[in-house]
Amino acid sequence: MNAENTQDQRQDQGQAELSLSGNQLLPQLVAHLREHRAKLRNEWASRIRDAHLLEAMTPQEMAAETTSVYDNYVEVLETGSVEALQHYARDLSERIIPRGVETHEVVGIVLLLRDVLARSLFEKYQRDFALLNQILDAYEPAANRIANTVAVSFVDERERVIRQQQDAIKELSTPVLPVRERLLILPIIGVLDSERARQLTEQLLSGIRTHRAKVVVIDITGAPDVDETVANHLVQTVDASRLMGASVIITGLSPTIAQTLVTIGVDLSKMNTIGDLQGGLEEAERLLGYTVTRKVVTDGS
């Protein structure tokens, strides 16, 4: 197989099995990269530092991950199969995405490795230009394919994580928790905009029906602040719950929110507010137990 042939095949089957295009040359290449593993990996790591990539990782983590990437990289060149690399890339992505690593960083480090290795090949073969050409012809498509694989794995993983987070947030944003029979807790966590407030209300009201709730504790300890629209909404939710026969206890009312409620003309004395969730739950049990106690009295008389 001559160089021209190799070239043609590369153009024809860009993503074809690597072993085809690098039959004799790739083993040589792989041997070289194995031999100089420590030196090349260090060089790569320092280039990554210079480019300020992956700064979310500790030096130890960097050392461990770059070694793994390097070994995987060489393995792809050797076997022509990206499967192992794919798995590793996904794994890695899963670990680093929560740390806020961006796509350009991941693509960046892979391209840096490609350059570092290409330079070393230049150095080694610079005296034999024809051989260098052949080596690069074998190396480049494999290297591009690796970069591609890593980038795609990362983006896929990122999308999956984002979807998962969105679902989690959606669930979290409407957590109507049945604590015990006839008692629901609605902890409001995070910023309440009017759209989320609407969702909460719909969820709570249908929750009252499904769980046949008699008492609802709305805990707003986790809500930093509410504007007037949302405060209004909160009041409407309390009133609507009452129309469905459920009593509402509000806990964790911050002075700021209390002020907002007063500003929009809410009569706080008509709202059952208790300092903290614990107190709210005790009050709820009292409300639920209240009937029982009285019944006992009734029966006894």
């Binding site: 409407q236 609507a240 469905m244 026969g245 009734t298």
Partner: protein
């Protein structure tokens, strides 16, 4: 209300009247319902009234006021009224509209309404 399927049924259970609204009522039908119910409160000397509005897909200002005035009249005649079955969407729309049931007790459904009345009666008899 005498022709076709009944829009409202009023059943007597001991000294409790259970009025179930079966379909959306227009204003005149609502008023007729009020008259029928009030008349029966007197006839049966009812002590408790349950109005089941689960079938109403809208409770607007007129319906709210009518329900409240039924409860007021009933109270003057010595009966307690419980409104039951207000649907979640309806409850929210009522609140947005600015309507509420005032001092009229509400309960989730018929069962809860009956439980409320029997509890109340228990309290009453414990005093007597």
């Amino acid at each position: 209300m005498n022709s076709g399927p009944a829009l409202v049924s009023i059943l007597r259970q001991g000294d409790t009247l259970v009025a179930s609204v079966h379909t959306a009522l227009d204003d005149s039908e609502m008023v007729r319902f009020q008259h029928d119910l009030v008349r029966q409160i007197g006839e049966h000397r009812a002590r408790g009234i349950i109005i089941d509005v689960a079938a109403l897909d809208v409770i607007d200002s007129f319906a709210s006021r009518t329900l409240r005035s039924i409860a007021d009249i009933a109270r003057l005649r010595g009966a307690v009224t419980v409104i039951v079955g207000i649907q979640p969407d309806v409850a929210f729309a009522m609140v947005c509209l600015g309507m509420d049931m005032g001092e009229v007790p509400t309960a989730l459904d018929l069962e809860e309404g009956l439980a409320y009345l029997s509890r109340l009666r228990g309290l009453g008899s414990s005093h007597g």
